[in-house]
């Protein structure tokens, strides 16, 4: 594998946690590399370690062994703040539980990434992105006034508004009904193509996984295919 051509690469990733008196191995010897613009799905049964892997790949969690690099930067040679800065520049997230800030309106939620980086012209771009996801009429609504599907669309808008190089999605349709889920998936892939983002997606939904160019199957902490 040539690290230079990959937007995301991981080598020898392992994760072990203490469980009572013994050690529990969640991930073993995971290697992977993702090229720019690729859409990769990580699938596996519940408890297979896919969310743990995603968290490590995104730099949200530290591995017990191995290394990860994003755009050539070794993630775990950076400190937590440096990783945060890297995320702010290059990475977007979509979560199963949407993770919108309840005290902010839809518009303010989408503006948040810009505000955190100190940019003052956030509103226009956020507005545009919300219109893009079909929520132009719901800008001033709070998350509690939006359905699950609508909340996830706001989350998509927030993820894409900064034009990230890399987008991590953890079970993006896990909390949605079939119809909302389908709508969200459609949007996700459309925007992915539109903005040329590299997508790494964790899911147990085989149908969703099939839409990705590559599917990595996790079982008992290893990539089996």
């Amino acid at each position: 594998m040539h690290i230079n051509n990959h937007v995301l690469s991981a080598r020898g990733i392992g994760k072990t946690v203490k469980s009572g008196e013994s050690d529990l191995v969640i991930l073993r010897e995971i290697d992977l590399a993702v090229t720019p613009g690729e859409a990769v799905a990580v699938v596996g049964a519940s408890g297979s370690g896919k969310s743990t892997l995603l968290a490590i790949l995104a730099g949200l969690d530290t591995p017990s062994a191995g290394s990860v690099s994003i755009e050539g930067s070794e993630l775990f040679s950076l400190d937590e703040d440096e990783r945060a800065e890297l995320r702010g520049r290059s990475v977007g997230f979509v979560f199963q539980s949407f993770q919108l800030l309840p005290a902010l309106t839809a518009l303010e939620n989408v503006m948040l990434p810009f505000e955190l980086s100190g940019q003052n012209d956030a509103e226009a771009q956020a507005r545009e992105m919300l219109v893009r996801v079909g929520l132009g009429e719901r800008l001033q609504h709070y998350p509690k006034h939006l359905s699950g599907g609508e909340q996830q669309r706001v989350a998509l808008a927030r993820a894409f508004v900064v034009r990230p190089k890399l987008l991590f999605a953890d079970e993006p349709t896990g909390s949605l009904d079939a119809e909302s889920g389908a709508a969200v998936i459609r949007l996700l892939f459309e925007m992915n193509r539109e903005y040329g983002t590299t997508l790494v997606l964790v899911t147990h939904d085989e149908q969703l996984a099939s839409k990705c160019a590559r599917v990595l199957r996790l079982a008992a902490g290893r990539i089996v295919s």
């Binding site: 969310s51 995603l54 968290a55 995104a58 730099g59 949200l60 969690d61 937590e80 703040d81 945060a84 800065e85 890297l86 995320r87 702010g88 520049r89 990475v91 997230f93 979560f95 539980s97 993770q99 800030l101 309840p102 005290a103 902010l104 303010e108 948040l112 990434p113 505000e115 955190l116 980086s117 100190g118 003052n120 509690k144 927030r158 953890d170």
Partner: protein, 825 residues
């Protein structure tokens, strides 16, 4: 900065920060109200110090000054003036009133100006000199009390004098705020004609000096070593040390009370910030995913809270300013001065207290946010580890330091901090114990379903509930003390005087008037009052060792020793006295019987020999008994009694106490007219006046205690709100499993009723205990239990907690169970 403003606006909009802001505002308001008021009072003391002294140097004595001193003042080229101060009855027609008489030389005051008016309420003007011979100036209170307008005549002793003006400003008096006897100012030359200054009269003699600073200083150096016992000097630097002391003490007390309110507010801030942090953990994790660094998070939240803090402190300062106006209004009758506008320093003090509160109580939980791991977005159980207690310790220590600083005295500050901490712990422990006992399974089983669930909840949240109960109990105790207990103490004191107790004191009967006075009473069919001889003596030595006020550290002891004692002589032990130790006097020996309390205060013991001087003559006698007195019997009491052979022949006047039934005032008028040098004190009126003063002081203090109650309520509210999410989920689950709204509200109502009742009972217990302590140890009264206190406490507790519960629980039941459960996932 912009982002912090935005965060503040959004969190405020969501209602997250209102309680915090309110707690901070209350704390700052409490402290600044006292500080503003104290600043204004302090300014009066400092403002134009010359004015307050009436001179550059004032010499005060409890016996006449040696004429050489006045000569010395003149010879040194200083301006000099003199005055006498004493209390006497003033008469106008049928009416009479106790007046504070000041007889001055025409050139008084040497600094500052007196102001007079032609009638009460009319515009006043500065007076060039003091009252003319033959005339008096009365203050407004005396004019209305005597019904003696300008132009009328008043009688003082044997002299009749014309009322020439209404005295509106007397510089020296403005520094002595709490004057009970209204002022009558007269010309010093008229005093002999009154014949009021006799043996036994308590008169203060003043000499005033003014001149160039170096002249005044030189004279001050000259006079200081020559001052005798019972004499002291005051100058621009020392100001009015006694007045300043009492004002300082009052300010310290008020300041401490205000700070206690601030401490309670700090607890509310800590609880509120904890909840804020808990509700923002997820949001912070998201922000970490979106690129926010730890430093940025700390900076943003720190800035947000600083902006909130600044706004809340500003609101608190404004509220404090308004409150101190109210305090001033409550005390307006007592304060005889126009208070100037306050300075800006109290506002700074308020901000400082706010800053300590924020740093000590809000910052520790806030700092938790910086350690939120980003992975929390995917693993909810990931939470930053914190040890709150160490970080709160810093806030508690900072506040402890402020309390000690405010007390001005390490010991007092220590008592206050220790007492408050002990009260909090005791209330918390008792609340927790009662709640646990009340909700033991054996007890709960005996109740119906609705009650049972409420009691189970009470047990489950015992620790959190105990915090709420303790905080409400603290605030309520303060209010109950000031209302019920205060009234109960006054009533008990009133009741302690037997119904036929004397209601008049008669002072100043001369030996040659004894028979005539007794005949007068006989002629009016009034039981002859017992006339006790009184000899004014000064203590000079104990067991041969000279004694002075410098030998004592305690203020009251110093005062006692500095002044003259009122001794008496008799052969029989008075009926309202009891021998506590030793034996009654041997009429043939040089012995003394001393009151127990004063002996303890001054360190006297049985067998000690005390040496006294009376008008130049000295004598010694040994203490052979200690006595217990009943001060509330209203009979005449003496600290020191000797057998007649020790004191007879020394300058003596006679005093008595007797009873006049309503309608018998005409007899008193006649007595005064026949014997104009006598002073007749209406005890009931004096008590009423003192009561009014106390009422006004308590009203002022109540404002501060209201802040304490407000802060206590906030603690209660934040503690309730902290459990709101949990209660909401519980209610939703209950309803999912079939409970009706009535059942859910019923269970919560039981919980809050029980807590309110417990808090109220604890508060009643606290107020009753403190009341008993005050009654027995300070006032020596019997204070019977008060039914009203024990009813009011629990009722108030239930009412307040129900109000709080209603405010915080409305949301619990409004949302549908599905929505609640979905939101809580």
């Amino acid at each position: 900065m912009n982002q912090a403003w935005r965060m503040l606006a959004r969190d405020w909009r969501a209602g997250e920060l209102r309680v915090l802001a309110l707690a901070l505002a209350i704390a700052v308001a409490s402290v600044t109200s006292v500080a503003f008021f104290a600043d204004r009072v302090g300014q009066v003391l400092v403002r134009d110090a010359h004015q307050l002294l009436g001179a550059d140097l004032v010499l005060v004595s409890d016996h006449p000054w040696n004429p050489e001193i006045s000569r010395e003042i003149q010879e040194r080229g200083l301006e000099g003036a003199a005055a006498l101060n004493f209390v006497s009855m003033a008469f106008a027609g049928e009416r009479n009133q106790l007046a504070g008489v000041k007889a001055v030389t025409p050139n008084y005051p040497l600094r500052g100006r007196l102001r007079i008016a032609p009638a009460p309420g009319a515009p006043d003007a500065p007076a060039e000199r003091g009252p003319e011979k033959g005339s008096v100036w009365l203050d407004e209170q005396l004019v209305s009390g005597l019904g003696a307008p300008v132009g009328s005549r008043v009688r003082l002793g044997r002299a009749e004098l014309r009322v020439a003006a209404v005295l509106t400003l007397e510089p020296e008096r403005s520094a002595n705020f709490f004057n009970i006897a209204p002022r009558l100012m007269m010309n010093a030359e008229d005093v002999p004609a009154t014949t009021l200054i006799q043996t036994g009269s308590r008169v203060w003699y003043y000499l005033y000096a003014a001149g160039r600073p170096e002249q005044v200083n030189a004279f001050d150096q000259f006079i200081k070593p020559r001052l005798e016992r019972g004499q002291h000097s005051e100058n621009l630097e020392t100001g009015r040390p006694r007045v300043r002391e009492s004002i300082d003490r009052a300010e310290r007390f008020l300041g401490l009370t205000a700070l206690l309110a601030a401490v309670l507010a700090g607890v509310a801030i800590a609880l509120g910030t904890r909840r804020f942090v808990e509700r923002h953990l997820d949001g912070c994790a998201v922000m970490r995913c979106l690129g926010a660094t730890q430093r940025r998070l700390v900076w943003l939240y720190g800035l947000e809270f600083s902006l909130l803090g600044f706004a809340a402190c500003a609101a608190g300062v404004v509220l404090g300013f308004i409150a101190q106006q109210a305090i001033g209004a409550a005390l307006s009758e007592l304060l005889r001065s126009e208070l100037p506008a306050p300075g800006a320093l109290p506002a700074v003090q308020g901000f400082l207290v706010g800053l300590v509160l924020l740093l000590g109580f809000a910052m520790p939980p806030l700092l938790r946010l910086k350690n939120v791991p980003a992975v929390r977005v995917m693993r909810r159980e990931s939470a930053p580890n914190t040890n709150y207690y160490f970080s709160y310790l810093v806030g508690a220590l900072a506040f402890g330091g402020m309390l000690i600083w405010q007390a001005g005295d390490l010991k007092l500050g220590g008592y206050v901090v220790g007492g408050f901490a002990a009260a909090v712990l005791v209330f918390f422990a008792m609340a927790w114990a009662v709640l646990k006992l009340l909700t033991r399974p054996a007890v709960v089983r005996g109740f119906g379903r609705r009650l049972r669930y409420g009691l189970i909840n009470l047990r489950r949240h015992a620790r959190g509930n105990a915090v709420q109960v303790a905080s409400l109990a603290l605030g309520l105790t303060a209010v109950l003390l000031l209302t019920f207990t205060r009234n109960d103490l006054v009533d008990a004191w009133r009741r302690s005087a037997p119904p036929d107790a004397p209601n008049r004191f008669l002072v100043g009967v001369q030996p040659d008037q004894l028979k005539e006075v007794q005949t007068f009473f006989d002629s009016k069919n009034i039981v002859r009052p017992e006339l006790y001889p009184m000899v004014r003596a000064r203590l000079v030595a104990v067991n041969g060792r000279p004694v002075s006020e410098a030998d004592y550290a305690e203020e009251r002891a110093k005062r006692l020793v500095e002044r003259e004692f009122n001794l008496s002589y008799m052969t029989e032990l008075p009926s309202h006295n009891q021998i506590a130790a030793g034996r009654w006097l041997d009429p043939g020996a040089a012995e003394l019987s001393v009151e127990q309390g004063i002996a303890e205060r001054l360190g006297w013991r049985l067998g000690d020999e005390l040496t006294w001087t009376v008008g130049g003559e000295s004598f010694s006698a040994r203490i052979t008994s200690l006595r217990r007195l009943r001060w509330d019997s209203m009979k005449v009491n003496f600290f020191v009694i000797a057998p007649p052979r020790v004191l007879a022949g020394m300058p003596t006047s006679f005093v008595s106490a007797f009873r006049v039934e309503p309608g018998g005032e005409a007899v008193l008028n006649e007595l005064s007219q026949r014997f104009p040098n006598l002073t007749i004190v209406d005890v009931a009126a004096a008590v009423r006046q003192a009561q009014e003063v106390i009422d006004q002081l308590v009203n002022a203090v109540q404002f501060i205690f209201l802040f304490t109650l407000g802060a206590g309520l906030l603690v209660l509210y934040t503690a309730l709100v902290a459990t709101e999410d949990e209660r909401r989920r519980e209610a939703a689950v209950m309803r999912v499993y079939g409970a009706s709204r009535a059942q859910v509200t019923g269970a919560q109502r039981v919980e809050f009723l029980a807590m309110g009742a417990v808090a109220g009972i604890l508060a009643s217990l606290g107020a009753a205990a403190i009341g008993q302590l005050l009654a027995r140890r300070v006032f020596e009264l019997d204070l019977p239990p008060s039914a009203a206190l024990w009813i009011a406490g629990p009722l108030a507790g239930i009412a307040l907690l129900s109000l709080n519960a209603w405010l915080s629980s409305r949301k619990v039941l409004r949302a549908s169970p599905a929505a609640t459960l979905r939101d809580s996932v």
